[in-house]
Amino acid sequence: FVSEMLSAQGFGGPGKMKEYHYAGAVENRFSPYAFNGGTVLAVAGEDFAIVASDTRLSEGYSIHSRDSPKCYKLTDTTVIGCSGFHGDCLTLTKIIDARLKMYKHSNNKTMTSGAIAAMLSTILYSRRFFPYYVYNIIGGLDEEGKGAVYSFDPVGSYQRDTYKAGGSASAMLQPLLDNQIGFKNMEGVQHLPLTQEKAVQLVKDVFISAAERDVYTGDALRVCVITKDGINEQTIPLRKD
C-alpha cells in the first residue's frame, strides 16, 4: 500500500486548489524619478503673455510644500513653467540660467524667447536616454512684441502655440482653453480678440476648476503677466484640501 505525497503545486484534486506561486527573491528597483505634481499654463495675447502655475509640491498622498511656484523668470520678457519631477525642474532651470549668462557674455545681447525655446529643445534631447522628467512651457514676448508660447515634451519636441496647459491637471484645463480661447466646438460665436483682463480672469477660473477635481493641484496660484513694461506677478489662494 503506497501513498503518494501530493504537492501543493498543480494539485487539481478534490479541493481543486490552483497553482500557488512562490515569488522567490524579490527585487525592489530604485527609481530615479518621483512625481511631484503641479500644473502649469501659458497663454499668448496680442501684446502680452501669461504664465501661471499652482504652488503645491506633493509626493504620493502627502504635501511637501504649499508654496513652491513652478514659474521661473528667465529674462525680462520670458518666463518658463516646469512641472513633473522637482529635482529635474531645479537642475534644468539652473542649466538654462547658466546658458543664458554665457550667451549674454558671448553675444552681448539677451536671448529672445524663440532662441531660448530652440536651446531648451537641444538641452532636453541631449538627455534622450535618461530624460529630464519635466513638462516645460515657455511664455514670453517675441522680437515683434507679440505674445509667444512654446510647449515641450520631456525629450525636447516643441512647437509654438497660442495657449497650452501642462502638468497633472493639463487634461482638464486644455479642453476648456480650447473652447474659451480657441472658440472650438462652438458655432455662431463672435471671435473677439483676447484682452489681458479677460485672459487673467480665465486663467484664475480655470485653476479653480482644476483644484476642485485634481488632488495634486491647489494651495495657491502664481500668475506672471509679461508685457513690454515688465513682468507682473500675482498670487491667488486656491483650495488647500
Binding site: Y61, D205, V215
Partner: protein, 275 residues
C-alpha cells in the same frame, strides 16, 4: 422555527474561483488596463465618549488622482444603534455594509432583539477572512447596545481591534495625531464632536486623498444624530466670469423627425375632488 440562513457560513470554505479568473482577465485587455475600482482615499475616525460613540468622515472619493465625488457618504447605516465608516475600495465598503445591515435586520426580526455591536463585528470578520483580503474594506464600526458603547475596527483580512478611539484611511496618521493629543476617557458630547471634527480636518488638509466636507454621526442610547455635513469646506468655487452658451452654439449636423402615429382607443375621464 428554523433560523434564516443569515448566520450560516457558506459550506465551500475558501472560494477563490473568481480571484484566479480576475488574474487571467488582466492579460486579456490587449495591453490596456482592467478598470480600476474606485478607492475612497479617505480619513475616517471614531471616538467613544461618556454617553456613546462619535464617528466622523470626510466626503471626497478619488479615482486615482481625480476627485470622482465631492460629497460621498462614508458613514453607512448598519442598524438603528450601529453605524459604520468605510475606507478602501468604495464598492466593497458599500456592499459589505449593506449585506451586514440586511443580515442584522433579519436577525432583529427573528429574535426580537436589537443587534449587538459584537455580532456585527463577528459577521464582518467571518466574511472578510473568508475572502482573504480580496475585499478591500477598512471599516470602523461604532454603536451603542445593552452592554455599553463600543468602537471596533475591522481590516480587509479580517483582523479586529476594540479601541476607545481610532482613525483609518489614507489620512489616518494626520487624524491620529490630533486624537492622540486630545483624547481622554469619558469626554462630554461637545468635546467629543470637536475632537473628531478636528481630526478629520487634519486629514483633509494634510492628505491629498481626503477633502471637502466633514460628516459626523453621534450614537447614544437616546438615538442617532447623523449630521451631514457637520462642517462645510471653507473653499467655495466662485468663478470670475459667467460661462454661458447661447442656444444654437452647438452645431446641429443632421436632424431626423419621426412622427408617432397614435390612435385614441379609449378615453375615460375621472374627476378629481379638489374641494
Amino acid at each position: 422555527m428554523a433560523l434564516s440562513t443569515v448566520l450560516e457560513t457558506p459550506g465551500a470554505g475558501f472560494n477563490f474561483e473568481n480571484a484566479t479568473r480576475n488574474a487571467a482577465l488582466e492579460g486579456l485587455f490587449g495591453g490596456g488596463q482592467t478598470p480600476k475600482p474606485l478607492k475612497t482615499g479617505t480619513t475616517i475616525a471614531g471616538v467613544v465618549f461618556k454617553d456613546g460613540v462619535v464617528l466622523g468622515a470626510d466626503t471626497r472619493a478619488t479615482s486615482s488622482e481625480v476627485v470622482a465625488d465631492k460629497m460621498c457618504a462614508k458613514i453607512h447605516y448598519i442598524s438603528p444603534n450601529i453605524y459604520c465608516c468605510g475606507a478602501g475600495t468604495a464598492a466593497d465598503t458599500e456592499k459589505t455594509t449593506d449585506l451586514l445591515s440586511s443580515n442584522l435586520s433579519i436577525f432583529s426580526l427573528n429574535s426580537g432583539r436589537n443587534p449587538r455591536v459584537v455580532m456585527a463585528v463577528n459577521i464582518l470578520q467571518d466574511m472578510l477572512y473568508r475572502y482573504h483580503g480580496q475585499i478591500g474594506a477598512n471599516l470602523i464600526l461604532g454603536g451603542v447596545d445593552c452592554t455599553g458603547n463600543h468602537l471596533y475596527t475591522v481590516g480587509p483580512y479580517g483582523d479586529i481591534n476594540k479601541v476607545p478611539y481610532l482613525a483609518m484611511g489614507s489620512g489616518d496618521l494626520a487624524a491620529l495625531g490630533i486624537l492622540e493629543d486630545g483624547f481622554k476617557h469619558n469626554l462630554e458630547l461637545e468635546e467629543a464632536k470637536e475632537l473628531v471634527r478636528a481630526s478629520i480636518h487634519a486629514g483633509i488638509m494634510s492628505d491629498l486623498g481626503s477633502g471637502n466636507n466633514t460628516d459626523i454621526c453621534v450614537i447614544t442610547k437616546q438615538g442617532v444624530d447623523y449630521i451631514r455635513p457637520y462642517q462645510e469646506s471653507e473653499y467655495k468655487d466662485k468663478r470670475n466670469i459667467k460661462y454661458r452658451y447661447r442656444p444654437g452654439t452647438t452645431p446641429v449636423l443632421t436632424e431626423k423627425v419621426v412622427t408617432l402615429k397614435l390612435e385614441v382607443v379609449q378615453e375615460a375621464v375621472q374627476k378629481m375632488d379638489t374641494a
